[in-house]
Symmetry: C2
Amino acid sequence: MALSDLRAVARNEEGIAAVLGILKQRLGERFQTGQAMREQHGHTTTYIPTQAPDGVAFAQSAGEVQEVVRICAAHRVPVIPFGVGTSLEGHVNAPGGGISIDLSGLNRILSVNAEDLDCTVEAGVTREALNQHLRDTGLFFPIDPGANATLGGMAATRASGTNAVRYGTMRENVLALTAVMAGGSEIATGRRARKSSAGYDLTRLLVGSEGTLGVITTLTLKLYGIPQAISGGVCPFPSVEAACNAVIMTIQMGIPVARIELVNALQMRAMKTYSKLDYPESPCLFVEFHGSEAGVKEQAESFGEIAAEHGGGPFLWTTVAEERAKLWKARHDAYWASQTLRPGAKGLSTDVCVPISRLAECIAETEADIAATGLVAPIVGHVGDGNFHVLVLMDVNDPREIARAEEFVARLNLRAIGMDGTCTGEHGIGQGKMAFLEREHGAAVEVMRAVKLALDPDGIMNPGKILPMPA
Amino acid sequence: MALSDLRAVARNEEGIAAVLGILKQRLGERFQTGQAMREQHGHTTTYIPTQAPDGVAFAQSAGEVQEVVRICAAHRVPVIPFGVGTSLEGHVNAPGGGISIDLSGLNRILSVNAEDLDCTVEAGVTREALNQHLRDTGLFFPIDPGANATLGGMAATRASGTNAVRYGTMRENVLALTAVMAGGSEIATGRRARKSSAGYDLTRLLVGSEGTLGVITTLTLKLYGIPQAISGGVCPFPSVEAACNAVIMTIQMGIPVARIELVNALQMRAMKTYSKLDYPESPCLFVEFHGSEAGVKEQAESFGEIAAEHGGGPFLWTTVAEERAKLWKARHDAYWASQTLRPGAKGLSTDVCVPISRLAECIAETEADIAATGLVAPIVGHVGDGNFHVLVLMDVNDPREIARAEEFVARLNLRAIGMDGTCTGEHGIGQGKMAFLEREHGAAVEVMRAVKLALDPDGIMNPGKILPMPA
């Protein structure tokens, strides 16, 4: 089974030529066709080869997005939305050519409603820019996939990250959005009410649709009060299984853990060197609790007891911000640390998610598979959700090595699906995981395809992603 | 503006006659066509007139649901899913006739996965039956819309209730489901992983689709540990505004309140008499906190301080189960208590939801409207979400009174929509609120219609609900 699906989408040369001419005239300098710019917009952060668009339109408003989509629609030319390009599964590639709409100019924070704990932002605002803007309000937006992605891109891939175990994913945190659909109309999927039973949930239909149904232009997001107190620390365990069992008990006891991250022994070895951490080279949990002063102390103590019951410890924790910051910087630098395990190699980052009762088994089988395949591939995981990542470090100039890595990832995906899990917890399908969608969803893929055909009959919205379409 | 949309859906007499014959033969006694049975299955708990189906099929399995849908599809005859019939907006009416599929026979609890905090149940299981089944596991399912509805019905209307402020609604608590689609195929929308980025979110598309896209047959639901401790109590306030401001501060401070219910002065008067409560006849908040012993004490104390800051109090709270039970029984009996305000009247129960910053204003305007219109209409609300209910007590034999009530409800819906809210927070659109869908969603209604046409091209799935379709 080939891992990524790079089958070319048929190019509409005539339409593309027409659109290039029109957009040059309409947008002037804000329409770019130079090779470097085009390649940068087809560039992905994985090993998947770049498929550059034919031009890049730098939109400044939802109205301009509409205009570009209408021009492309009139000539049946593909439209590929682009945030900052941190997606991992080839989402911004242009297999049939077409126009990349760069949304970084849609960077206005339109409103912050502190009383309602929500805000409305344009799709090109990054999560760090939003949190920077919120710094004096006592509020924050918790979803943190690692990269400083745009909020539109995070919604499009249904991103999550370390805080999801407590605050949910983009699925739970987008209250409403506006999007430009394939015909060029802009729709609003909802309002600022916290809940609604009025009609089909188009918000959730667009969240995770990876640009294949519409281009997200604004988002109304839930915000949270910055916790009064935070405690956190690191706890080593004798095995992945022991760590996972501690996670299960923590969740089951209802301890409202804000982050609970597994780092396997190989990854700890890399982090010890890279981030100068003084912990054993064994599986560790990085945990954090948010709440009142008394609450976070109680939670940390309860977790420590659970860890000890499972042979883990010592659990060293602190409420001092600087000490916590060092730990989380180490966790966030895991990607860079892992590069030191094989200098010069490129990382293939993949993710799966399983019910947490199957997590220990899934990780153990995966570690055994890595060892048997002879790969260098550390593991980190948002284990409160049952979600983990494997970073396969490989020589991208060696086709046999790529093939071995792809075969490993295919086995990993099927293993997760076989354990009642999913082939991606937070990266999305893109091009990289199209081969597994049908294995996971069966007949439901036909329903997805019917929705896609109904909303994008000419197949211009980010074609060649998520769903293999009939030619 | 007419409140409920009872425009007849064209009857397919020939198809209906054929289906009646086939189903009688296939299902025998489990297919009923007696008038009383038919009317009971078109009966709604509001004043909306009954539109009985032509027959009621008592399915015992998803396979039988598929069979009935296939037979109906072959003859283009409407299919109306039926749980226990507690919906409030005419969802189970059969404006074009057709077959009601009674799902009460799909009442098996298929699995409880305590380690993963989830379970899989058939759609006809009621929420009380599920919680009864869970009683020895230390787990519970929190969503409580008041009525002992089926979980399939609760998913279909995107129900919520008193606990939603902490635990979310059906939107957040259905992990995955299976549904029989218009063509008769059964799809599974997801697996047991807590999160997934694999393809379109068909789970959320079907949750809240009110039977218009498919018949939900099984659900995988999130479960929660029964809290170690619960504290709760009642706090009077000098005005609705003061109570709402206390709610806003409680939410904003991040106090993880499990329930926070507003009862207005008129409703308190009814409850004092009916449930023998010793509280003043002023707006009150009923609140509850879930957590550790220390946590729920801290939360109750913090809330008491907030209430006092807003002129509320005394806040009398307890952790004693019997005392809490009495309070919540009174809250749950609010509907019956309100009947005593106008004996013999029938209640029109309507709901809206607004951003909480607008809640005080919305309720105050609504109380003034009620007074000006001369209605008897107490208010209760799940105010942590900005959601409130008005129960208009009316003489259903007086058309002028019905018209006045409908006009009031229309103003209420438009008021909520005008405040960036929704015309229904938890009851759904059904027939009763179709007139407001376009006012709320604008061009997005066209997208909903495209999805409906794609998935149900012959319009057999619960026709005449949610979306006005072209004839």
